[in-house]
Symmetry: C2
Subunit: 141 residues, 2 copies
């Protein structure tokens, strides 16, 4: 029983975020399982729906993913037939991808509801706050 170690365990922001992340992502992935999607791929499809075709680099910047991670996620999704790489270094959603993500909406809603209940309105606000802090981290100074 090391008291200092206990302090570190309780204060480490990365450790806390990992725990929160594992639980929340688990809830979404379990709900989405019947659709064949995981939350990462669902996020990419939603992004392509929202913003249209984009380069892998742009996707990575929006989702804070390394370019290699984007590259391999797109590969997997192309194998499933949900996206295509177009001529001009862009990724576009296919009709199958569009139908899939639209059909998965109820499952997404359910997961969102479960987590909203767990977090409460102050918890949801906290997530938003952290997201904003992360996205604006290089804007000051």
């Amino acid at each position: 029983m090391d008291k200092i170690a206990l302090d570190i365990a309780n204060q480490c922001l990365a450790g806390q975020i990992k725990i929160v992340s594992r639980v929340v992502i688990g809830i979404y992935d379990r709900e989405l399982r019947s659709s064949g999607l995981k939350i990462t791929q669902a996020s990419i499809l939603v992004h392509l729906l929202a913003y249209g075709s984009r380069s892998g680099g742009a996707l990575g910047r929006s989702l804070q993913m390394d370019k290699s991670t984007v590259s391999r996620n797109i590969d997997r999704m192309e194998r499933h037939g949900w996206v295509n790489k177009t001529d001009e270094e862009n990724v576009e959603i296919t009709e199958a991808g569009r139908e899939l993500i639209l059909s998965a909406r109820p499952q997404w809603e359910k997961a969102q509801k479960i987590v909203c209940n767990m977090f409460g309105s102050d918890g949801v606000d906290a997530v938003k706050l952290l997201t904003d802090k992360v996205k604006n981290r290089n804007k000051r100074k």
Copy 2:
């Protein structure tokens, strides 16, 4: 440009948490890189320091990891010589593991400082709030 998709992209709690997680974990992992640790393994070592030898199941419950994930993380760490599996289904930290995690403290402090600066005190509070919500999610009713 689909307006509804844009709403979903901006509201999805899992998507937001993934983004926050990627950024924060990236900061810690980069700082810890010189020590040879990643934040997951550092968390396990700190837990073993704080609470002493524990079963994989107990570690998984504390860190919200699947038992198979714990199992394979422990395997990796045993290969590195940082932990041992004892007779009685417990995992114990080795002397090498203890020295490693103690020596990595400055790097952890630096990462913690960077993220604290990024988040501000309200952001740090937000992380704590979410962690508490997650840990107490089954306690009500």
